[in-house]
């Protein structure tokens, strides 16, 4: 009985050594983690910038489009063109799988680029931007109309009202969904291996391809992702609590 348990533990120890210690394979996981973090962080930053711009255009159109149409003129034509452009962007990006977008970016649009990591950052950023744009638009629309009118009444122009009054309140509203999107993004980066980037999943895959044992590398990779997401959730809940302070 004890012998069997001992053998079982020895087997696990051997498996562990074979998968992580031999040939310094744990370093692959570390490098993978680094790349996963770089891609996710930079992509979400790009995504937020794109998202805020697209959401501003779309929500302005939703709110004031009718009034502007009646006024007419050249400005409205330009504006509705931008709104149309944003809609195309949202439709195309949300209507195609991330992997396909990544492959198109890597092999067609940035065909001459040799920096795979940057291509991944850009395509994940553009992808995330589309989802964030709709989250932000929901946030902007849910800020009370009176806030906007108050801003205008105090003499801010449209852009200033957006930047100083509406968008700060919007961020508080969308924070939980924003966190949700970031979590989804971290896990979505797992497809970066398709274009030869050694991210966390690919690192685990490469270990699996060398040692042919599925258990250790896959569970290790899963645990690292889980740890990342749990840490992120914790940080966001702290941030939420801080932001809620001024509500009293």
């Amino acid at each position: 009985m004890f012998d069997a348990i001992k053998r079982w533990f020895q087997g696990i120890a051997e498996d562990f050594t074979d998968n992580f210690i031999t040939g310094d394979r744990w370093k692959w996981l570390l490098e993978g983690l680094k790349n996963t973090l770089i891609i996710s962080l930079l992509a979400v930053l790009i995504g937020i910038v794109i998202g805020v711009i697209v959401a501003s255009v779309r929500s302005t159109y939703d709110k004031n489009g009718e009034a502007m149409r009646l006024r007419g003129g050249f400005g409205f034509k330009v504006f509705s063109f931008f709104n149309w452009l944003c809609n195309v962007y949202l439709t195309v990006i949300r209507g195609t799988p991330m992997v396909v977008q990544l492959l198109i970016m890597y092999f067609i649009i940035f065909a001459s680029s040799t920096n795979g990591l940057m291509v991944a950052v850009i395509s994940f950023g553009i992808n995330s931007g589309a989802y964030l744009a709709e989250i932000f638009r929901g946030g902007i629309m849910s800020v009370d109309g009176g806030q906007f009118e108050a801003g205008r009444a105090l003499g801010f122009n449209y852009v200033q009202t957006m930047i100083y009054i509406v968008i700060p309140q919007m961020f508080k509203i969308v924070l939980p969904t924003l966190c949700n999107e970031f979590i989804a993004l971290i896990k979505e980066t797992a497809v970066a291996g398709y274009v030869g980037i050694r991210d966390l999943t690919k690192a685990g895959d490469e270990i699996r391809g060398r040692t042919f044992s599925a258990f250790m590398p896959l569970i290790a990779v899963a645990l690292i992702y889980l740890g990342l997401v749990m840490l992120l959730t914790k940080l966001v809940s702290l941030l939420e609590r801080r932001l809620r302070k001024n509500e009293r």
Binding site: W28, F107, A111, S112, S113, T114, G116, G193, Y194, V195, G196, K202, D205, E206, R208, G209, R210, T211, F212, S213, A214
Partner: protein
């Protein structure tokens, strides 16, 4: 009472449903399940009609015929084949697979049915003309380090990947200079667009890739030579014997040569 009865009924229904689903996935007795990665012409690829074709596929079909079984092909990632065969998910793995010590720890291999060469593909105007060009050498002609700017593209988990990712002392390029792609076509595409300086992959797929992409060539010096064989679970020695017998018979009948000649015209 009624409540308990309805719960019992629900549990019963759930169990039946689960059992029905589970039994769907069960393997049939006279089926020979072969795992491959059908992106490796001419050994295995998806033909114009959408069916699996290639040397491995035809040899497997011939073997299944000899064993009186029907062949079922599972197209999976190359790196998952050995693990899947080891766990009994697939009966055999056939994907232009080379016998290596690491793989032998996990599966048995049949007798070899073909020889492969790891070839080096470069662009036509490439400054690299032989294997030596990729390395900085000392006075005695030993490889010291990889030249700056050399990036090697490979198919993930293939022997090309494993050898190239090794250190320079072991005739590799160091894993930091190797980019691995999910399949050979992607690696070649990366070469065409200048993301890597060379692709190291099995000779026959290399020829197919060079044929369909303009501006590529195969260097005269190859990287290594190796033997292809069929991977079979260590527990299924009966199948190993049967397959070895079938391979021997097919070789004696000249069938193997015939199949290989069909896909690789002698040049």
């Amino acid at each position: 009472m009624k409540k308990i009865l309805s719960i019992a009924l629900a549990v019963l229904m759930l169990t039946t449903a689960v059992l029905t689903f589970a039994s769907c996935g069960e393997k049939k007795d006279n089926e020979l399940v072969m795992a491959t990665n059908a992106n490796f012409p001419p050994y295995e690829f998806v033909d114009d009609g959408g069916a699996y074709a290639g040397i491995d596929v035809e040899i497997a079909t011939a073997i299944a015929e000899k064993l009186g079984m029907t062949l079922k092909i599972e197209n999976v990632e190359f790196g998952s084949i050995v693990g899947g065969v080891e766990s009994g998910k697939y009966d055999m793995g056939m994907a232009g697979m080379t016998v290596t010590d690491d793989r032998l720890k996990h599966v048995n291999f049949s007798t070899s049915y073909a020889t492969g060469i790891q070839a080096i593909i470069v662009t036509e105007n490439s400054p690299y003309t032989s294997l030596d060009d990729f390395y900085n050498m000392d006075a005695d002609g030993n490889y010291v380090s990889v030249k700056d700017g050399v990036k090697i593209g490979v198919q993930q988990d293939t022997t090309g990947d494993i050898y190239c990712s090794d250190t320079v002392e072991n005739f590799g390029f160091g894993s930091e200079n190797v980019t691995s792609y999910k399949n050979g076509a992607d690696a070649v595409q990366a070469l065409v667009t200048g993301k890597v300086t060379a692709v190291i992959i099995d000779n026959e797929p290399a020829k197919s890739f060079v044929k369909v992409n303009t501006g590529l060539k195969i260097l005269d010096t190859s990287y290594t030579e190796e033997q292809y064989a069929i991977a079979i679970s260590k527990e299924n020695t009966e199948l190993l014997e049967k397959i070895n017998k079938a391979l021997a018979d097919l070789t004696a009948e000249g069938k193997i040569d015939e199949i290989i000649k069909k896909y690789i015209p002698a040049d």
